[in-house]
Structure formats: C-alpha cells, structure tokens
Amino acid sequence: MRFRWSNCILFLGYLFLYFPLICIVVYSFNESRFVASWTRFSLKWYKVLISNPIILRATLTSIKIACFSATISVILGTMAAIIITRFKRFSGKTIFIGAITAPLVMPEVIMGLSLLMLFVGMEKIFGWPARSGVCAVTIAHITLTLSYVTMLVQARLQDMDKAIEEAALDLGASPIKVFFVITLPIISPTIILGWLLAFALSLDDVVIASFVAGPGATTLPMIVFSSLRFGISPEINALATILMTVLSIGVIIFAVLTYKKKTWNKEK
C-alpha cells in the first residue's frame, strides 16, 4: 500500500481520540501509584476499588437511577416522537417541539440550578420530592435524556415506510394496535439504542446530579468528580477501565446484532 496523506491524517486523528483512553487502561494495571514509573503488572488497584464501600454504594445508586430514568425516558420519548411525526397539527405543536428539544442545548449548570429551585419550591408546598432521595435525580435525568431519545426515535419514524401503517389502518386495525403490532417492532432497535444512550447519559452526568441530589443520593460520577479534583488516582484508572469495557461491549454487541439483522433481512 502506498503512502497517502489521508491515511496519515486518519492515523493521527484516531491516535488523538484513542491514545488517552489506552493510557488509562494500561496504567490501571501498574503497581506503582505514579505514572512516571512502571513497576510491574498487578491487579492491586482493582482490589482497592472493589473493597471501597463508598464507591460500591454509589455505583448501585447510579445504576438504579440510570435504569429508571432510561426506561421512563424511552416511554415518554417514544410518545413524544409519535406526536411529532404522526399527529396532525394541533395548537402548541411548535412550542411542544421547541420545549422538548431545548434541553439538548441547555447548559447543564442551568438545568441543574433551575430544577433545584423547582424542587425546593415543590418541597415547601407539597413536601415532595424529598431532597435526600434518588427521586429528584431520576426526574432530572429523565428531563435531560428525554430530548435525546425523542430526537433519535423521531428520526427513525420519519425514515420508516408509512405505507405499512396506513395499510393496517385501512384493514381496520385500531391506531393502538397498529402501534404495538407494526410500528413498535420496526423501531425497536432504535428504542434499544435510545435506552442505551439515556442510560449512558444518566450514568455520566455529574453537574445536574450535584445540584439536585441530597446527601443520601451520591452518585458514582459525583464521587469520581470529587476525587479528580485532587489529581491522579489509580483507583479511578481501574474504575474507568471497567466502565469502558462494559459500555463498549454493550455498544459492540448492539452494533453486531443490528448488522446481522440487516444482512439477514437482505438474504431473506
């Protein structure tokens, strides 16, 4: 293969994207605390990580919040996407679309601050949501991820062949039946992708959670963030390696499955 500039650019670009991450993975197996000296391969930092009860508890809290918020946000987001693509014009539709996409560009600091002010007001009037609970964080994360899921599902619904749905409606199926029998199976890969994205976003968020969470709902990113303020710590290397492995395995499995399904459909 002869030398080409474009290959050189690609190599440098991907080096920039992946080198920092590879560094984390490599140094998570370093026995020494310092990056400067590579002493020998060890799983010491993984052991330290697993025996840390604070990190374990925060991980559980985070996963719980992420699961709940991803599920609810996928349900609400699919509804919103159907409203945007399939419903006739109704008064306030433009406002609806605007409001549902706005969190995409909203700085996290503002979202966290404004939601906290709402929760403080609500707590004063209704006594709910209690700030120590995970409820407030879950609500905040649903609002954050809802717009991403809506955009994703909406794009898929627009690409989809509408004739199939119309045929089912002409043959006398109710709109609800059409949705569950026709539309849902077709868009289900997108919905799973939306769930994964919402899960990842929720597991990732530190700013909104820091504003909204009370003392009882410390999430994993909050702990990572506070330890990063003090610089390098090898436990975070180990944690990052675990998180990266889990997330990339999830994404790769998803990609392989959709790819296989596509080729399978083509063969059929």
Partner: protein, 311 residues
C-alpha cells in the same frame, strides 16, 4: 334559558369528548416537559429579578400582598447591573467566549481533515471509521477528562516522558491553564464536529474537484474554491454543535483549567454553592442562556436563507 344543571352536564360532556386517547397521549410528555423544564426556567427568571436574603429559600418573592388588598410587584434589576459592572464577571464572559471560540476553531482544524479523509476512503470502511469516532463518546465524559489530567499533569505521562529523555529539567506546567481546558473541550466534542462535516463532504461530487485540476488549478485553490464552500452547511452546523455546549461547560474548565480559568459555568456554580447567592446565580444563568441562544439563532437563520436561495 338553560338550567344550571343542564349547562354543567353540557360542559362536562364537551370536556369528556376532549379527553380522547389522542389528547391523553399528547398531554403526558407535554405535562412532563412543562412541569420539569418550562416551570424551572420561569422560576429561574423570577429569582433572577429578586433580592438576596439570608433565609430559606434565600431570596425575596417578587409578588407581595400588602395589607390584604394591595398587590405589590418588585422587580430588582440590581443583579444584572452587578454582572455588567463587576470586573470578575465581565472577565468570566470574555474567558468563556475565548475558550469556546478557540476550541471550536481547533475542532474545525482537526475535524475537517479527518472528515475529509473518512469521506475519501472506500465505502466499506466508512461506517467502521465513523463508529470509531463515536465510540469514545460512549465512555464516560469524566473519564475522558481524567485521561487528559493523567497526560498533562506535572507527574503525568507527557512530562515524565520529557524528563526521561532530558528534554526538560523541570516539569512543564501543562495542566491548570486555559490551554488544557481547550484541549479537553476539543477532545470531548470532536465527534460533534466530524459528523456534520462528514455528511456535507460526502455529498460533494469528486468530479468537480477533478475538473478543477484538469482546468489547471492547484490543490489549494481547488480546496478553497470547491470543497470549503460546498461543505459550508457542515462547517456551520458543526461549529454551533461545539460552541454551544463549550460555552456553558463546567466540568472541563473546573478540572483542567485551574483557578484562573473562570468560565460562566464555573461562576454560576461558585455563586450557588459557595456564595449561596441564588439571585446572582440565576441572573448569570440567564446571561449564559443568551450566549447559548444567539449562535443557534444565527445558524438557524443561515439555514433558512440557504433554503430560500435554493428555491
């Protein structure tokens, strides 16, 4: 004349007809967005016009009932005046815009060649290459920032490498300055730049560039007179996608930028968590929101103009 009961029944049936499945489906996400997005924003605006108070909640209410029948509305503009007279906040605005602008330009300079190279590879590889661009995006944001702490810190990877080969004697101060904050933002938001650029560049007919070569233009002229104008929509979209989140960014300047890189996001955080001044934090957020909305309106208008000229 209807009797009262008849009227009530009439109204109720009218209402019941309105509560169809359709309206119910519309109302659920709408209510959610209204309650947890629009309401908080309104509260934020309200608090930005109130006065600071040592109480819980620490601000005065705008609307007051005085002696039962006088409605008093007090709008306090002092918070906003304060933001535009205090040097620290003005410097914060400038720092934010400079950092977001520099990172956007750097993203463009790195993203354009990459998007161009991806679009020029064989069709088989393109989807894999694009997936490789997004894959780091799926790993945690904090981890990506942490990676740069590890590379740039005084006892980090780059410095220890430089020391080992005796290129420097004292570790370089790479971390805790605006340079590090820019690198972090570029690294975190590069995929947002590459995707719109790729979409625009992929559509360019390569025959146009070959025609330019045949007519004797140099590669540089061909690039600037054909590729750049045709990929302009991608450039605008990508720049907006990087600039908008970069200007409100909190985590990256906080962890990589050091003490002196005070961006608006950090100022909001400090006002709220350290000074406990809710009204100042709220009015700062509103100003930040204006900085975010302006580039969006700009790109939106450009797109509208493009569509109109095409028609």
């Amino acid at each position: 004349m209807y009797r009262i009961e008849e009227r009530i029944i009439f109204l109720l049936t009218k209402l019941a007809r309105k509560i169809s499945g359709r309206n119910l489906i519309i109302s659920i996400p709408f209510l959610w967005i209204f309650l947890f997005f629009i309401c908080p924003c309104l509260i934020l605006i309200q608090i930005s016009f109130s006065e600071s108070l040592i109480a819980s909640p620490p601000y005065t209410s705008l609307v007051d009932w005085i002696s039962g029948h006088v409605l008093q509305i007090r709008i306090n503009l002092e918070n906003y005046m304060f933001l535009f007279t205090d040097e620290m906040y003005i410097r914060g605005f400038i720092t934010s815009i400079l950092i977001a602008g520099t990172s956007t330009i750097c993203c463009l300079l790195i993203g354009f060649p990459m998007a161009y190279a991806i679009a020029r590879t064989h069709e088989k590889f393109r989807s894999i290459l694009l997936m490789l661009v997004v894959l780091p995006f799926w790993t945690s944001f904090l981890i990506r920032v942490y990676a740069w702490i590890m590379l740039l810190s005084p006892c980090g990877f780059i410095n220890s490498l430089l020391m080992k080969f005796h290129l420097v004697d004292v570790p370089l101060q790479l971390l805790n300055n605006s340079f590090a904050a820019c690198i972090g933002i570029v690294y975190a938001y590069l995929p947002f730049m590459i995707f719109p650029l790729y979409n625009a560049i992929e559509k360019i007919d390569y025959a146009l560039i070959e025609a330019a070569y045949d007519l004797g233009s140099s590669p540089i002229t061909a690039f600037f007179s054909i590729v750049v104008p045709l990929s302009a929509p991608g450039i605008y979209a990508g720049s907006a996608l990087v600039f908008v989140p970069a200007i409100g960014e909190f985590v990256i300047p906080e962890l990589l930028g050091g003490v002196q890189t005070l961006t608006i996001g950090r100022l909001v955080w400090n006002e709220f968590f350290e000074n406990m001044s809710w009204p100042t934090a709220a009015s700062l957020s509103i100003v930040l929101l204006i900085f975010v909305v302006l580039p969006i309106v700009f790109t939106q208008r450009r797109r509208e103009i493009e569509v109109l000229t095409k028609e």
